[in-house]
Structure formats: structure tokens, C-alpha cells
């Protein structure tokens, strides 16, 4: 990244100036919020509280992994278990934009609660350029509302501090490597988490299906990439489609769900091409999903669309 050292110095100076008292940071454990947390925590120490919300929509093992990273970095943190609250708010919601709005609203209410409890008057976020660009504004169309931008209520009683606003993911990764942040190579994961990989209604049952499928896709692709059988994609995951289709399992009729595999190459997330995954790798993903998840999934498809015209996530 261009001028990374200066950037770090300037961001820390800005944090000291903008945060005379206490602040909370919304921390998902992704590279953006981890870098923002490390920068601000270096600047103001334990006057920063990192809040990780377990919204019930995270990936397999994610909460424990994030807990480990926050402890390793010596950041003052708190983990809030809010799964029930999120599922309740999402009941009956199927429209992708409404989903994002509901989740954004829920997040902010949790952060407000935590901020009040901690005595913070500043909310730090790891917002990066594509988040506010795609969220739209006076002149720009809304492609999708990123909850850290589009979902912020007007009556939020906190100042906002977003040190990474002008950066793209590749630049944030450079900073992460310089700062020794373990999340530097983690693949991007959307703010609304698995909710936007679960087309249609977000229920604990549907999330459990897409969580397991995402785990299999990640595991198989990671293994194949490490073994040199394919190039590591920028982002790779599973999407649960809301339709059903007919299949046959052991001479018995099946009528189950479909999983779409999505994997793309990109540098900054603003354009992307679908990954040319070797057929043998697609084959192992497909077979493993349909065998181990036979009660719910009987069909697997592969998404071959670039961005544009598609976006990386399906919602």
C-alpha cells in the first residue's frame, strides 16, 4: 500500500484527537474491523472496547476464533450473545435489502447498549470504500446496504470514527500484515453474515444448513489450494437457494434444497471473476455436501457469473 507507515501514524493521531473519552468498536473479527481495532487500541489503549456480536449467523467455529484473535492482540473486548434477538427480528423477512436493514438496526441497538454500559460516546467502525460506495448516497445508486453505513439510524447517540474509509481490502491487508494482525489473510465475510447466503427466510434451521455447506466449501477449497491444485480464490462460500428439486437417494425419492457454490477472484471486491475451480475439486465438494447433508440438500450448482453483472454475494 502507498504510504502505509504514514497512514498508520495519521490514523492513530486522528483517533487520539477524535476520541477524548471512551469508544466502542464493532468488531466482527474480519480484517477491516480487526485492523481498525488494533489501530485505535494502540492509540487509546483500554479506553477502547471491542464488541463482537454473536448474532447466530456466524460461520462454524467463528466466535471462538475471533475470541482467540482479540485476546492475542491484547485488545479489550466483550462478546455479546444475541442470536435469539436477531432471529426474532428476521422472522418472516425475505427481501434482501430489508434483511440488511433489519440486521443493521439490530447491530446498532446492541452497540448502543454496550456503549452506554461502557460509557463510550464514539463508535469506531472498520468501514472501507466499497461499503459506502455500494450503500449509495445522494448521487449513487444503492447496490446493497452495508449495515455499517446503510443501516445506521439517524438518532444514533454516538459520534462515528471510520479510519479506513478511503481504503480497499488489498490496502487493509497490507496494513494488517504490518501490524501483525492474524486476520490479514481471512477471506471477506459480509456484515449481515450467513443471512445473505440464505435466500428467502432466515431461520435457525436454514442457517444451520448454509453454515455446514459453507464449512465444506471452505475446507475443500482451502485443502485444494494448499495442495497446489488450484489458485486460492478471493472469496469462496456456499449459498442456500430457496427452491426445492427432485432427486433420488438410495432408490428413494428425495425432494430437497439446492446449494450454490460461489468462488471469485478479485483484488478489491469492486470487480470480480468467477474462479476456475478444477472439476475434481467441484466434484469432491458436491459429493461431500450431498452425502453428509443428505437430509437437507440433494443438488449442488456452481455460479459462473462475474461482477458485474452479478455481485459477489447473492444478496
Amino acid at each position: 500500500m502507498l504510504g502505509a507507515e504514514d497512514f498508520i501514524d495519521d490514523a492513530m493521531a486522528a483517533a487520539r484527537e477524535k476520541i477524548p473519552g471512551k469508544a466502542v468498536i464493532a468488531c466482527s473479527g474480519g480484517v477491516d474491523s480487526m485492523v481498525a481495532a488494533v489501530l485505535v487500541s494502540k492509540a487509546i489503549g483500554d479506553r477502547l472496547l471491542a464488541v463482537y456480536v454473536d448474532n447466530g449467523l456466524m460461520r462454524k467455529g467463528e466466535t471462538d476464533e475471533v475470541r482467540g484473535m482479540l485476546s492475542d492482540m491484547g485488545i479489550n473486548y466483550r462478546i455479546v450473545d444475541a442470536g435469539d434477538e436477531f432471529f426474532k427480528a428476521l422472522k418472516g423477512v425475505t427481501d434482501p435489502e430489508e434483511k440488511r436493514k433489519v440486521i443493521g438496526e439490530k447491530f446498532i441497538r446492541v452497540f448502543e447498549r454496550e456503549a452506554k454500559d461502557f460509557g463510550a460516546d464514539v463508535l469506531v467502525q472498520g468501514t472501507i470504500a466499497p461499503d459506502w460506495i455500494e450503500s449509495g448516497d445522494g448521487v449513487r445508486d444503492t447496490i446493497k446496504s452495508h449495515h455499517n453505513v446503510g443501516g445506521l439510524p439517524k438518532d444514533m447517540g454516538m459520534e462515528l470514527f471510520e479510519p479506513l474509509r478511503d481504503l480497499y481490502k488489498d490496502e487493509v491487508r497490507d496494513l494488517a500484515r504490518m501490524l501483525g494482525v492474524k486476520a490479514s489473510e481471512r477471506q471477506p465475510f459480509p456484515g449481515p453474515a450467513l443471512a445473505v447466503r440464505c435466500l428467502g427466510e432466515v431461520t435457525p434451521e436454514n442457517i444451520a444448513i448454509v453454515r455446514e455447506a459453507c464449512f465444506i466449501v471452505e475446507d475443500e477449497i482451502m485443502t485444494a489450494s494448499v495442495a497446489g491444485r488450484m489458485e486460492m480464490p478471493w472469496q469462496y462460500f456456499a449459498v442456500l437457494l430457496p427452491s426445492r428439486s427432485v432427486g433420488v437417494q438410495g432408490d428413494r425419492r428425495a425432494y430437497g434444497r439446492t446449494i450454490a457454490i460461489r468462488a471469485v477472484s478479485s483484488v478489491d471486491g469492486m470487480t470480480a471473476t468467477y474462479s476456475k475451480i478444477p472439476l475434481e475439486v467441484l466434484d469432491s465438494i458436491s459429493t461431500r455436501i450431498t452425502n453428509t447433508m443428505k437430509d437437507s440438500v440433494n443438488r449442488v450448482v456452481f455460479d459462473i457469473t462475474n461482477k458485474p453483472p452479478a455481485t459477489i454475494e447473492w444478496e
Binding site: V139, D141, D166, Y168, S266, A272, K307, P308
Partner: protein, 192 residues
């Protein structure tokens, strides 16, 4: 060297700013409602792409027309920026016969300015519903694709250049080279 990026609401306006910044240009994104006086110290101008059909919706193109009339420095119009530029100088716009989203192979017709030193054909990324139907007098076509005859235009006399595709995105081949060529044009205009 100072180049402003005029924000017409494109998804990649900020990418244009980033490419220029990485080329060590003194650059800033400005709203398209900025008075010309406030940007008249520029050495060059980039007119960004915009929201759907923005080029033909003059209300949303702010002061782009004034910039084009008063600029005494080179201007690069990208996507809606090029469409507006062509419309402004007497060309016509309309829905593309084949909209282009994603990768497009372009054929270079002139290597004189923006495409100096670049291959005769290469892959770029586009994202547009509308296109330039007829180019204005004094402009020449500098690149085309199978689906869009007017992928790039130039009018060296007015120091006006346009590309329908997006050289600022990572997936476009030679995008940074094209910007470097524009900086070369800006640089020679400064010395004049």
C-alpha cells in the same frame, strides 16, 4: 500535477481517485455541482461514470457541461462521462444494442493518445446500458468492440478524450497504462 475527479455517482469514481493517487497525482473527488471556479486550478479533469442513464438526464450531470465548455486543460470522460461529453458536443446517445457488463475485448483504432504503446486488442471491463450512437464533429473513434462501436473517442484539438469502458478497475488490462497516457497528455498540455 493536479487532477480532479468529478463524481457523477459511479460505482468506481473512488477507484479513479485511487489509480491517480497511486500514480502520485495530486487528486481529489469533487461533486459535479462544484462551481468551475473552484476547480479551475486543475491541470486535468476526469469525469466519472454515473448512476443508470445519468448522461442523458441532464439534471443529474450538474456542472459537467460548464466544465467541458470552460476547460483549458485535458478532460477524460469515463462511461457516463464520455457519453455526456459526446452528447454535449453534438453527438447522440441511446440504449446500447448489446449492453456490456463485465469483460469486453476492444480493438484499438488509434494509438495516438490514450492507447499509445498499448496492444491492438485487449480485454477491458465495462458496465453500461447506454452508449454513444453518433460521435460529435471533430471527434474520432479510437477503440471499438463487437457490441459497441464507440468504446473510446478523442478530440485532440479540444483536448477531450473519452472511454466507454472502465480503465480504473483491476480487471481491465492496461488500465493504469491508459491513465499514464492521459497524464502524459496532461503534462504536455501544461508545458504548452
Amino acid at each position: 500535477m493536479k487532477i480532479y475527479v468529478v463524481d457523477n455517482g459511479g460505482q468506481w469514481t473512488h477507484r479513479e481517485w485511487r489509480v491517480l493517487r497511486y500514480l502520485k497525482v495530486d487528486t481529489r473527488i469533487v461533486p459535479n455541482t462544484t462551481p468551475f471556479e473552484d476547480i479551475s486550478d486543475a491541470d486535468g479533469l476526469v469525469l466519472s461514470g454515473g448512476a443508470p442513464s445519468v448522461a442523458s438526464d441532464t439534471g443529474r450531470m450538474g456542472n459537467n457541461g460548464e466544465y467541458l465548455d470552460r476547460a483549458d486543460f485535458p478532460v477524460l470522460g469515463i462511461c457516463a462521462g464520455m457519453q455526456f461529453m459526446c452528447g454535449h458536443f453534438g453527438g447522440t446517445l441511446g440504449p446500447g444494442s448489446t449492453p456490456e457488463f463485465g469483460g469486453v475485448e476492444i480493438e484499438v483504432r488509434s494509438h495516438d493518445d490514450l492507447f499509445k504503446g498499448l496492444p491492438d486488442a485487449f480485454k477491458v471491463w465495462a458496465s453500461h446500458n447506454d452508449e454513444v450512437k453518433t460521435i460529435p464533429d471533430g471527434f474520432e473513434v479510437t477503440a471499438s468492440s463487437a457490441g459497441c462501436p464507440h468504446e473510446a473517442v478523442a478530440c485532440p484539438d479540444r483536448m477531450m478524450y473519452g472511454v466507454q469502458f472502465h480503465p480504473e478497475v483491476e480487471d481491465s488490462e492496461h488500465g493504469v497504462d491508459l491513465f499514464k497516457n492521459f497524464l502524459g497528455i496532461v503534462d504536455s498540455a501544461r508545458k504548452r
